[in-house]
Symmetry: C2
Subunit: 236 residues, 2 copies
DNA sequence: ATTTACTACTTGTATATACAAGTGCAAATT
DNA sequence: AATTTGCACTTGTATATACAAGTAGTAAAT
């Protein structure tokens, strides 16, 4: 009786969906906070909490005295920030292909993030995926999940589904936040092959730690990104 | 009688300072929300607003039933998110050197961000700086400010001072948020020279738009970053 | 001795309310 | 006609309060 989604979160999801579906178009004003109160039967602080989430993620921009203006979606691929319930990696025209299926193995030595004793002992579930935006390979990512209480995970298919969704629906795990490091590297042979680029092609690497609602449970991914055509976007 | 800093912001600044100064060390618990209420003569929503800012920026992590745990500072150079009042680019061991002093010129064609009519007509204040972390050149950044109501700006010295501070103190301009794009590129000749790297060295480029409290006033910077030794870090 | 239950704390969510401050438009004044 | 004033709206900030839910230690029961 704990993990039920709070009302401000429900409202956030609803408004976000409406914006993405075009019910509210860029430049439009969202209903005022008081209207949203009345329509959704909640109070203004609750509405404001929902709107703040939307504003932080760039869906709307609030202007005192005017209202909440719906923003036009960023031109690139959003990945720098993500919502707690959905992967923020694009949405349309995104295909995912599992290159290496989930399997259990020990953690790599000198892992990109520090691990707890429990994590290290449990080993990790490892898999690799390639993600296409408009049929162009843009992301190549390697995921590492601690092998702790994730029954039947290795037999799941990961094609065209969000890891975030699987974790939420089947394991009640939600991402609450995380940490990321970004650097530029040269494409090594493996990357060259996946992206079809030449040697020395500059590639962006993201190392991410995803922290979840399950205490002490984090998972990790290393994402290689070809920013030649699609760059990463984010707000702060 | 508008731009006075709100109380939650004051509390945020105070706690942030204390954390940075080591009054509260990583792993410590911050005083509980109720204690902070009593000490600072504010109510819990106000305290929570301040703590949320700290949590978003990774200074603390809140744990229900326990308290607010102070986090250890990230290992890299924080730039992916920034606070409204201080530049988030490092803090210690950071030197800045102006390579091209501020001068007025027309905006470049095909600018990295869309400009309003007013901005384009006014021209821009342009300057270049090189930033050193521990005496190693890490950032090379080009700044573009709309030439609108910024008296005597071009005669200011920009060595070892934060642009954010200058704008805040002399022009009452505060950064409220912004947008950024990230991509990986090869070092061109200019970059090679500044960073002392070879041809084809991968470099990270950030294009940033900073939105301010002055309506319609944004400024821009293009930051080249050598992530060989220092990577960019951020939370989400 | 081990387990259980309780208690006193913590943060999370939600309501209700009030006033300040910015925006835009219409009405009143000049 | 042009300017100013005022009003009705918006979001921003702040207070006061209540209960839910997670944590950790202690006391009680087995």
């Amino acid at each position: 009786m704990c993990a039920q989604t709070p009302r401000y979160r429900e409202l956030y999801e609803k408004l976000r969906k409406h914006i993405l579906e075009g019910v509210y178009k860029p430049g439009d004003l969202l209903p005022s906070e008081n209207e949203l109160c009345a329509v959704n039967q909640v109070t203004r602080p609750t509405v404001r909490q929902a709107l703040n989430l939307l504003a932080n993620e760039g869906y709307i921009k609030k202007r005192q005295g005017l209202g909440s203006v719906v923003q036009s979606p960023p031109r690139g691929v959003g990945i720098l920030s993500l919502s707690g319930t959905t992967s923020a990696i694009g949405s349309d025209n995104l295909k995912t292909e599992a290159i290496v299926k989930p399997n259990v193995r020990p953690w790599p030595p000198n892992f990109i993030f520090e691990l707890t004793e429990v994590e290290r002992e449990s080993g990790c579930i490892y898999f690799e995926r390639l993600r296409f935006v408009n049929d162009i390979p843009i992301f190549y990512d390697i995921s590492y999940l601690p092998n702790i209480n994730l029954p039947r995970f290795t037999s799941r298919s990961l094609n065209n589904v969000s890891l975030f969704d699987i974790l939420r629906e089947h394991y009640q795990i939600q991402v609450k936040g995380g940490e990321q490091n970004i650097l530029a590297i040269k494409a090594d042979e493996r990357i060259q092959e996946h992206f079809g680029v030449k040697k020395n092609h500059p590639i962006l690497r993201l190392d991410r730690k995803m922290e979840t609602n399950r205490e002490g449970f984090s998972f990790y991914s290393q994402i290689y990104c070809n920013t030649e055509d699609y760059r990463l976007t984010g707000r702060f």
